[in-house]
């Protein structure tokens, strides 16, 4: 087995015992990227020299006898909406094609302090708006299980990089499912933490009240490792959770007897595909066999979550993206003679259709005549949804359901119909509205070999229970060890040629 194929927790002891050098480990990942990323197209930027320099620095430190740090030498793929000082950060937008942030996101500082090495910046839907990574202004990312299918989105690049062993660990961001849905489509583990658990400082804002950065990893143990490194109070994010946090790796025990797991009936509605339903049913049986109590519950307002989500997220996004005016950074259309038309033209040319759609929707729902009817009403519905969760968590320790109604769909299948694309997030959106954690773990494959994800949701700031249940489930199954077969032949694939 090559080093890039190892889980983080397998590679770490080898590095700390100096059985392999960090440079070897990083080189292995870089080799894999050059071998396969022309097909997968997971990365917008590969930080080859940076990674090798950091690797040599780490080796020098280890050689001096310094102890290995918690994530020493791990190659991390970072979603391209997370600011990296001196490293181009595009949010997959033409508008920020050449943007080099003057500062690091807090998570980047945490990862680097823990010894992780940024290997590259991954592709995504432009400004994290989308569910297939087809809204990237750069190029689409392909699903390593079947390159004709999408990897999910918006953190599709990070998900594809992890499953194709182009990274050891990855960061994604999740506003309405953008970690969990691609994790599910690519068959990896993805965790959206409780709102406020991980600092948003440096995350290019999409919907400020829901955005969270989280781990995307090969298994649950890696997920806990990364979460432990990035979670924690940050005075630079006013919404950051100030409480004490546990060591998440301590919850990785295979015993989950006595835990009550709720199954919201709203997550098993008519929109659920048969393949996912089957995999989910089997997963439930597995959980029951592990000794948990399964309980049917209801989140009566969950079916309105998608509507509330699109109102709130678009409103916040429209305002957040207003700063892209072509003055301090970004693209400027030079032909314009005055500020207003310069800005309007630059944005018209610089943003893709989905981003424009959300800006228009967001502006519409906040405009004077619609403000109360749409925006305020959505905020009230949000309260109802949060209350639903609170009520079920009085009797359940966590909830489970499918992560997405379907497995990864064909590229181009939903690009013409935004509403159909939005429906892909129908089960992942409610936790974002309520601020609770949600996680996707592999729970099966359909007949065509596409992975299915199990979503686990928990009480606010109770990531520990999610990890515990996920770990026990993972230990009892082998979905997480499967890998896509032989490298797909790029020449057989139509369209979506890499342009950057």
């Amino acid at each position: 087995m090559r080093l890039n194929e190892l889980k983080a927790h397998e590679l770490l002891p080898m590095i700390s015992r100096q059985e392999v050098t960090v440079e070897e480990a990083v080189t292995c990942v870089l080799d894999r990227i050059s071998a396969i990323d022309g097909t997968i197209q997971a990365y917008i930027t590969v930080t080859c020299e940076h990674a090798l320099r950091k690797a040599r620095e780490a080796d020098a430190r280890l050689a001096k006898g310094e102890p290995a740090r918690p994530l020493e030498g791990l190659s991390v793929a970072v979603k391209d909406n997370i600011s990296t000082k001196g490293i181009r950060t595009t949010a997959a937008s033409k508008y920020l094609e050449d943007f080099i942030p003057p500062y690091d996101a807090t998570v980047i500082q945490h990862l680097e302090d823990a010894g992780a090495i940024i290997i590259g910046k991954t592709n995504m839907d432009e400004f994290a708006m989308g569910s297939s990574t087809e809204n990237s202004a750069m190029f689409p990312t392909r699903n390593p299980w079947n390159p004709k299918r999408v990897p999910g989105g918006s953190s599709g690049g990070s998900a594809a990089a992890v499953i194709s062993d182009e990274a050891v660990i990855a960061l994604g961001s999740d506003t309405g499912g953008s970690i969990r849905q691609p994790a599910s489509f690519c068959g990896i583990v993805g965790l959206k933490p409780s709102y406020g658990l991980v600092s948003r400082h440096g995350l290019i804002g999409y919907a400020s009240s829901m955005d969270q950065i989280g781990p995307m990893t090969k298994d649950v143990r890696d997920c806990a490792l990364v979460l432990s490194a990035i979670a924690g109070h940050d005075p630079k994010d006013s919404q950051s959770y100030p409480g004490e946090l546990p060591d998440y790796t301590e919850y990785l025990i295979p015993d989950i007897t006595g835990i009550t797991v709720g199954v919201p009936k709203e997550f098993l509605d008519e929109g659920l595909s048969q393949a996912v339903r089957d995999a989910f049913t089997e997963a439930l049986e597995k959980l029951e066999a592990l000794g948990v109590t399964i309980k049917d519950v209801s989140l009566p307002h969950a079916r309105h979550a998608l509507a509330a989500y699109y109102v709130i997220s678009s409103a916040e996004a429209g305002s957040n993206l207003a700063r892209l005016d072509g003055v301090r950074y970004g693209v400027r259309t030079c032909a314009s003679e005055d500020f207003a038309s310069m800005m309007a033209k630059s944005r018209g040319e610089g943003f893709g259709p989905e981003v424009k759609r959300r800006i228009v929707l967001g502006t519409y729902v906040l405009s004077a005549e619609n403000h109360d009817k749409y925006f305020n009403e959505a905020l009230r519905v949000r309260s109802l949804i949060a209350r639903d969760f609170q009520e079920v968590f009085e009797t359940c320790d966590c909830l489970v359901g499918p992560t997405s109604p379907t497995v990864a769909f064909e590229a181009g299948e939903k690009t013409r119909d935004p509403l159909a694309m939005y429906l892909s997030d129908v089960y992942t959106v409610p936790p974002n509205l309520a601020g609770i954690p949600g996680m996707s773990v592999p729970c099966g494959f359909d007949k065509e070999g596409m992975p299915v994800g199990l979503q686990i949701m928990g009480r606010q700031y109770d990531e520990a229970t999610l990890l515990q249940v996920a770990y026990a489930f993972e230990q009892a199954t082998d979905f997480h060890v499967r890998r896509p077969e032989a490298e797909p032949n790029a020449y057989e694939l139509a369209g979506g040629e890499r342009s950057v």
């Binding site: 080099i100 003057p102 709102y195 406020g196 009240s209 829901m210 005075p235 919404q239 959770y241 100030p242 307002h301 309105h304 998608l306 509507a307 429209g318 207003a322 072509g326 003055v327 301090r328 950074y329 970004g330 400027r332 003679e337 005055d338 500020f339 207003a340 038309s341 310069m342 800005m343 309007a344 944005r347 018209g348 040319e349 943003f351 259709p353 424009k356 759609r357 800006i359 228009v360 502006t363 519409y364 729902v365 405009s367 009817k373 749409y374 009403e377 959505a378 009230r380 519905v381 949000r382 309260s383 109802l384 949060a386 935004p418 509403l419 939005y422 509205l433 309520a434 601020g435 609770i436």
Partner: protein, 97 residues
């Protein structure tokens, strides 16, 4: 409520976002579909519900009034599409506030 082409045109001005004819018509259709879903919120009785602005539930998050070094002007300006000396340069401003 239905969204019209006039709405889209008006909003594109309000949002400083130039849209060509084609995308305007396309948006009218797509957004009408999305609004149909959103209008379902009307079915709910939300009377007496608070507005959840943020799920964090924190209050009074403050920092001490201490001035710390800023970033270097060169760094601040390094991404500027246009500059003059240490200033960001913009085309003239027609609408005066």
């Amino acid at each position: 409520m239905k969204i019209t082409k006039e709405d889209v045109a008006r909003i594109s001005v309000l949002a400083r976002l130039e849209l060509d004819e084609d995308s305007q018509s396309q948006f009218v259709e797509q957004l009408s579909g999305i609004l149909k879903v959103i209008n379902a919120l009307d079915e709910l009785d939300t009377s007496g519900m608070n507005q959840t602005i943020s799920p964090a539930g924190l209050t009074n998050v403050l920092r001490e009034d201490i001035a710390l070094p800023s970033i270097a002007p060169e760094e601040a300006l390094s991404n500027a599409p246009d500059r003059e000396g240490a200033f960001f340069k913009v085309p003239r401003i027609l609408d005066v506030d």
